[in-house]
Symmetry: C2
Subunit: 396 residues, 2 copies
Amino acid sequence: MRKVGIIGASYTKFGERFDASMQELAWEAFKDAINEANIEPAQIEYSVVSNMGGWSSESLPAVIVSEALGINPRGSVRVEAACASGSSAVKLAHDVVASGQAEVVLAIGVEKMRESPSRTVVEYIGRAGNFMWEFENFGLTFPGYYALYATAYMSKFGAKEEDLCEVAVKNHYYASFNEKAQYRNKISVEKCMYSPYVAWPLKLYDCSPITDGASAVILASEDFIKSHGQEAVWISGTGYATGTANLSKRDDFTGLDAARKAAQQAYVKASIDPERPASQLDLAEVHDCFTIAEIMAYEDLGFAKKGEGIKLIKEKQTYKGGVIPVNLDGGLKAKGHPIGATGESMIAELYHQLLGKVKGERQAEIRNGKALAHNVGGTGHYAYVTILSLDKGERS
Amino acid sequence: MRKVGIIGASYTKFGERFDASMQELAWEAFKDAINEANIEPAQIEYSVVSNMGGWSSESLPAVIVSEALGINPRGSVRVEAACASGSSAVKLAHDVVASGQAEVVLAIGVEKMRESPSRTVVEYIGRAGNFMWEFENFGLTFPGYYALYATAYMSKFGAKEEDLCEVAVKNHYYASFNEKAQYRNKISVEKCMYSPYVAWPLKLYDCSPITDGASAVILASEDFIKSHGQEAVWISGTGYATGTANLSKRDDFTGLDAARKAAQQAYVKASIDPERPASQLDLAEVHDCFTIAEIMAYEDLGFAKKGEGIKLIKEKQTYKGGVIPVNLDGGLKAKGHPIGATGESMIAELYHQLLGKVKGERQAEIRNGKALAHNVGGTGHYAYVTILSLDKGERS
């Protein structure tokens, strides 16, 4: 298999972006990525555009984005895997290059969610569960879905609402240093605890926001990277799995089976010991759409044993200097969650972290040169895990 | 690059399918494909689900389809490239296998369009052009878009409405032998000429219908095929391109630039002489969403010189026994056009044609063992061309 590296990546300022159209948002992420890659738009041979859509008037965005970026007439496609759309785009862009069909491929995510009323957004996202059985019959929306997980976890492992709030406190803390984050205010456990309930036990500060934004990742073959003398971060393993769309069929409400399977796959491909991945990874981006999701991710990824994820956050082991720093960009919780662009933004963040290009407080210490992105769609309906490495040697 | 072959393929009865849910339609196509491939669902390592959506309540279909097919927890993604979604799924499934990331991958398209009122469908499809500039400002929907091409072609090359109707006559003729086709009635030029205008000069019988349906294509690596002793048809070349989303920026209204570019790419990869492809191909499936689209396809693919596509149909050269038989399944026009499933249905048809498995009148004479599928999204916003071959040797 041909080795594939990332040669440029970026994400826009996340938040309420009424100042930019979907195309302009895409361009904003793309121009930084392509400048970093030091290539021309015409060198991109194929683009994979991740977008959930459903709220913006441009319902078929790929060609419109391609044209705005100046990469038309190159081939393009839109991909969607609910909130894991961005990582699915990177996986497929990787495979297009690895297959030999192209030397340089763009994965770009874009989402304009804030044009729609919040009620519509919440309702539409609710369909990412199972429309017929759970959305239509029980009226479940995503805060409700994750509240089920939170109550199960709290009941089984004795976690408290305050513990979940600690995740929000960490992610707001790091977002305060990230000029592209949607929310840059530091918060306290008290502030989180006194915020209004959305779906008990989840409060406003346990939930990721509705976000506009775009993110771009440019992938290239080893041959291209060598001949152009670029700095690259290598994709050393990807894992992906699906879970049943009916929550009533799930065995367990304290973790996501798809995420565990995706992680195992990725660890095997990237030669990471699944028994102690945290010791081999310098940092991780995990899918904290709700605070409970970050706790479950610690366990699903093997950073903590079952039921001990909550200990990791209480002991600040996922801050810098801890066992494994998580979401140093502020995460979905505070950086924001523009659904189709979230996955690429995680990978863009890790690319810059591994190269030591993140300014100030947020830069992780890079020792092993490895990092992981964990991107979930639905409540584990989809999971994609991507492992990046400064070293291309250990690739399967 | 690893060689990739098709080991099973199928499509459902197309038409008004209120009898089946989206999942059930997908299963109907899948069960035949997997039986033909003689494998178990669990052997599929990844699935690419093509679906335009927007009309059915299950707006995020990939995981729901995967689960219904019993291939969960394998990874999955939805792809969309407007009406070329199906071929984009096959291209990406090919690349996942060719890259070495999987041995067996499923491309499956499904669309339930008839649940929505026709007016809604026409309006939603209209957005596949360019929402802001053409749909919203000028009210263009797809019959209108293709009518612009038809009038330009008629004006420049002296074609008549009767000539366009000849395409419908041919495609209805072959659909009459295809038990899975939406419309199995033979029609005459007169019947077409006296059908009501939809957008002058296009009449009802110049337009493809609104269709429910699903199609599945199972792709596998050469190693897998060899070790399982399967009969396979090889993917010998794929081409793909995009065109500007603004018709006002197009240079030409008598052909689709993206289709020409995609064809050239595919011919190079498949070692087909672009000067005389019809002599090397046994048959083709082309994207006849409107009759004028089939005429333009003849020219864009190099089956006829510019302005001479109309001669090809008038001389019945795209019937069996002619220069190159086209749309022996009835085409989008009469077999039907369930948007996300159309591309895979073309490829499923060619797979069976090349293996001589089509019963009766519709079976083409197979001499060269090569066939081509041409799948367009929008009015050339996307184009994907896929070349299949019985011989795996000539692959680039």
